[in-house]
Amino acid sequence: MADNRPKKHQEDDAMNGSKLIVPKKPGLSRRKAIKLMGAGAAAGLAAGPGFVRYAQAQSSEPIRIGFQVHRTGIGAAYGRWYERTTTAAAALINEQGGINGRKVEIIAEDDGTDPGRGAEVVEKFATQHKCDVGFGTLFSHVVMGSAPRAGELKLPYYVVSEGHHVASTGLNRYTFQPGITDVKSQVIAMAPWIAKNVGKKVCMIYPDFAFGHDHRDYFSAAIKAQGGDVNALIPIPPTESSFTRYFPQIPADTEVIYHVMVGPAVLTFVKELGEHFGSSHPALFGFIDSLEAVDLKSPGLEFLEGSYLWEAYPRFAGASPKPHDTFYREKVGVDANGASVSDAADISTFSHMFGCWETLFILKRAMESAGYQGPADKAKLIEATEAMTSFAEGNEHPQGDKQFNGKIHQCFGHQNITQVKSGVAEVVYRTTIEEGLYEPEGDYTKMAL
C-alpha cells in the first residue's frame, strides 16, 4: 500500500524503524470542502437575483412590484394566501395587457414576518431589484419597521395590513393602504349594530399587545357613543396558552363577550370558553382574524355556533353570490366555502387576502392615471393615488365599493357581520361605508415628496 503521508513523517518513521499504518481518510477532505463552499458561494453570488444584474433601462422592463410576503414566521398562513391572490391578480392584469403596455412582474421576498428583515427586504426592493413599488405587507409590526425605509428610499409602498398605522398619519407620504379598511373604521362601523341587536354591556377579551389595544381603545369609544358600556377589559398576555383562569373575571351582567384572540391558541380559547359557560352564556362577537385559515367546523369550535363574527369579505359565498364574487373566487382558486378548490381542508384567509387583489388593481389605475413610465414618475404616482376618491364594486373590487381618502392614504368600505349556523357563517348585516367613516387625524399631502 502506498504511503501518502508527508515525506517528513515517512522519514521519521524510517528513522525510528517503525511504520504506522494510516487509514486513508474517507469522504470529503477539509480543503476540498472549503473549496466547494467557496465555489458554491461564488456561484450563488453570480446567479443570485440582483447581485450583479438589474442595471437595464427601466422603460423596456416590466413594472416590478416588490411583494413583501410572510412566507415564514407567525404570518405564514396569511402569506400563503396573499401570495396566491397576488399571483392571480398579476396574471389577470397581464392578460388584460399589463400596466401602460408593460407587463407586471411580481418579485416576492420572504420577510419572515419580522420587522427587522422586513426593513431589509424593502431596501432590497428599492436598491437591488429596482422595484417600482413595494406591496403586500400584512402584519402591523412589519409595516411599522419597513415604512420608514420605504419613505426614506422613496419607494411607493402599498400595504394590505388592516392596522390603523397608515390612517393615523404617523408614517410617511410613500405609504398607502388603499385596498383594505383599518381596524378603527371596522369597529366604529359595527358598534351601532352590536349595541342595537346583541347587547350594550360588553366584556372585551383581547391580546395584550398593540393589535388588541387598538380594539380596546376604538371599540370602547364606539360602544360608549352608542349608549353602551364596556363592563370589563380582560387583556391576555401573548405568552398565554390556557385561558380558563381569566373567565371568572367576566362580569355576571355581561350581555356580549367581544373576543379578538389571534394565533394558534384560538382553538383552546374557544374550547375553554365553552367549558366555562356550558349551554347558558352571553352572546359572542368575535373577529374572523382569529379564525382565518381555520375551518369553522373544527373540533372544539362548536361553542361558536350562533355567535357573531366580523368579516371584511364573507368566507361563505351564500346561496346567490354576485358574479364578481364568483369570478374572483375562480381566479384565486377558492370554492364557495372559502377553501382551496384543490384541497377542501386548506381554508383561505378570505377576509384579508382580497386586499392584495384590489390593491393591485388600484395600483394599475393609479399608474395609468399618472402615465407612469419608470422610477422618475414616482412622485406622479403618489399624487395620482392621493387623487383617487372611490372604487366601484366589480371584478377589480369584489369585496365591494370603497371610498378613498387621499389625505390619510386609507380606504373605507363595507363591513359584514355574519352569524355561525351549522358551522357556516351567514351574513346578517352589511354596514354602509358611511358607518365606518371618521375624522382624518392628519394630512399626508402636506408632506414633501
Binding site: 443570485g48 427587522g116 431589509e120 398593540a210 389595544h213
Partner: protein
C-alpha cells in the same frame, strides 16, 4: 492593529465601489457588529455565556426611541441617554446575575431578558408593544457642532456607523490588550487560579458585564435612530441568540471575529432567502459545516493555525 485599520479602511472604500443595496446592508451590519463586539467582551474574553443580551440592546433601542419621541431629546442627547441607561441596567443586572455561574448564569440572564421583553409589551401605551415606534424624520434631522445632520442620508449614516464601529473595535482592542483584558482572559481560562492569585474576580466580571451591556445598548440606540424604528421583536429572545451566533461564526475572543460573523450571517440570510423558504435550514447546514471545519469560528481557527498574533 494594522489588520484592524485595514478593515476600517476597506469598509470606508466599500461605499465608493459597492452597490447602493450593499452599502445599506453594510450600514446595518456595522451597527449590529457593535452589538456582537459588546457580546464578545463577555462571552469570548471573559467566558460568560449570556442568553439575555437582547435586554441591553432593547435598553438602548427604547431609550433612544422613547427619549426622542416622548421626552423630546435631541439625537445626540438620546445617544448619551441610551448609553447611560445601558450602563445602569447592565450594572444592576450584573450585580444580580453574576451571583450565578455556568448554566445557572445562562438561565438567569435568559429569564431577565424575557422579563424585559414582556415589560416592553406591558407598557404598550408608551412602547406600542409589538407594533413598535416609528421615529419621525423631523427628529432625525438635527444640528451638531455647527453641522446639519440628517440620519436619513445614506452616505452620512454609513460613515457614522463606520465611525462608531471603528470606536467599538478600538475600545475592544484597548481592553483586550490592557491589564484588565489579560485578567478577563485569565478568569475565562481558570477562575479559581485567578482568584487565588489575589484578583477580585467578581469585580472584573462585573466590569466586563457592564462594558458588554453598555456597548450592546449603544448598538440598540444606533439601530433605532438610524433606521427609525423600535419594536418588541428587537427585544425578543432571537436578539439574544443573534450575537452569540455571530460571535461563534466569526470567532469568539478575536476582536474582528464578531464583525466578520455578523457580516457573513447577513449575507447568508440574504442569499438563502432569495432561493428558498427553508433559508434557516440552509443557514443551519452552513453553520454545522463551519463548526466542523472551523470549530473556533473563522478567525479563531485562522489564529490557531496561522496568525498566532491575532488579538
Amino acid at each position: 492593529m494594522f489588520l484592524h485599520l485595514a478593515v476600517i479602511a476597506a469598509l470606508f472604500l466599500a461605499q465608493f465601489a459597492a452597490s447602493e443595496y450593499i452599502v445599506l446592508m453594510l450600514t446595518r451590519i456595522m451597527v449590529l457588529a457593535i452589538f456582537a463586539i459588546g457580546y464578545n467582551l463577555l462571552f469570548g474574553y471573559t467566558g460568560l455565556l449570556s442568553l439575555g443580551h437582547a435586554m441591553f440592546f432593547a435598553t438602548g433601542l427604547y431609550a433612544a426611541a422613547l427619549g426622542t419621541t416622548l421626552m423630546g431629546l435631541t439625537v445626540p442627547a438620546a445617544f448619551a441617554f441610551a448609553v447611560l441607561a445601558g450602563l445602569a441596567v447592565s450594572l444592576v443586572m450584573g450585580v444580580i446575575t453574576l451571583r450565578a455561574s455556568g448554566v445557572a448564569f445562562m438561565i438567569v440572564t435568559l429569564m431577565f431578558s424575557q422579563a424585559a421583553f414582556l415589560t416592553v409589551l406591558y407598557f404598550g401605551e408608551y412602547t406600542r408593544g409589538d407594533e413598535g415606534i416609528v421615529i419621525p424624520d423631523t427628529i432625525r434631522k438635527f444640528a451638531f457642532l455647527g453641522f446639519d445632520v440628517d440620519l436619513a442620508n445614506a452616505v452620512l449614516r454609513y460613515n457614522l456607523a463606520l465611525a462608531f464601529l471603528g470606536c467599538a473595535i478600538a475600545f475592544s482592542l484597548l481592553i483586550v490588550r490592557s491589564r484588565i483584558g489579560h485578567i478577563l482572559i485569565a478568569i475565562r481560562e481558570n477562575e479559581t487560579r485567578t482568584s487565588m492569585l489575589g484578583y477580585d474576580v467578581q469585580r472584573y466580571k462585573l466590569a466586563a458585564f457592564v462594558m458588554s451591556g453598555t456597548l450592546s445598548a449603544f448598538s440598540g440606540a444606533c439601530y433605532a435612530l438610524m433606521f427609525a424604528y423600535a419594536g418588541s421583536t428587537l427585544a425578543s429572545i432571537q436578539y439574544s441568540i443573534h450575537p452569540l451566533l455571530w460571535t461563534l461564526l466569526g470567532g469568539a475572543s478575536t476582536v474582528l471575529g464578531p464583525v466578520l460573523g455578523t457580516g457573513l450571517m447577513f449575507v447568508l440570510v440574504d442569499l438563502a432567502s432569495s432561493y428558498t423558504n427553508a433559508n434557516l435550514l440552509m443557514i443551519g447546514v452552513v453553520l454545522i459545516l463551519l463548526v466542523l471545519f472551523f470549530p473556533k469560528g473563522i478567525l479563531g481557527t485562522i489564529r490557531e493555525r496561522y496568525w498566532k498574533w491575532l488579538p
